[in-house]
Amino acid sequence: SAVISQKPSRDICQRGTSLTIQCQVDSQVTMMFWYRQQPGQSLTLIATANQGSEATYESGFVIDKFPISRPNLTFSTLTVSNMSPEDSSIYLCSVEGTGTTSTDTQYFGPGTRLTVL
């Protein structure tokens, strides 16, 4: 399994501002994923980030709103831009497998709880 940390663990932000969430993995991984969990809801995949290429976004999510960086095999950031109260959610990153060989199981970080006022 992989050990994943996220920063910040929680934040309260004003509408119109942006927040960058960091995700750090203790081993090199090929694919990293970003999910959103709105209050009382399930997880929805935002995008998949591979190192060295543009992130692939799911329907309903766009790069201008959720820019993602993936500078190396152990780190990724997700920025929530021009925030509104509807962006209040838990944002989770996950990784698939360990090393450069992907496995089917995804391991999740502890999440970042974002509240937008």
Binding site: S42, L43, T44, S94, S102, Q106, Y107, P110, G111
Partner: protein, 113 residues
Amino acid sequence: SQQGEEDPQALSIQEGENATMNCSYKTSINNLQWYRQNSGRGLVHLILIRSNEREKHSGRLRVTLDTSKKSSSLLITASRAADTASYFCATAIDNQAGTALIFGKGTTLSVSS
């Protein structure tokens, strides 16, 4: 769009009883996974069952998969108060980026002592 649908949405039982949660999905899958989430924290992977498997065990957990009915069940035997959490099924499907997990709405399990 959500792939999996769990039922029940909420389940309350006493310690020692068994808890069964069901999950249905819509499209072909590579595998199906069950996760647990405590109080809005990160998800903990419980068990993975591949599309060519029918049943899998891990400790007090038993998972079944019926690909003809596009359904799966998670059984927790001899439940404990510490099992109180939300449980999600997630189906692995191929998308343009590789493999994506599509999560169901989840079942909230409450185990009272």
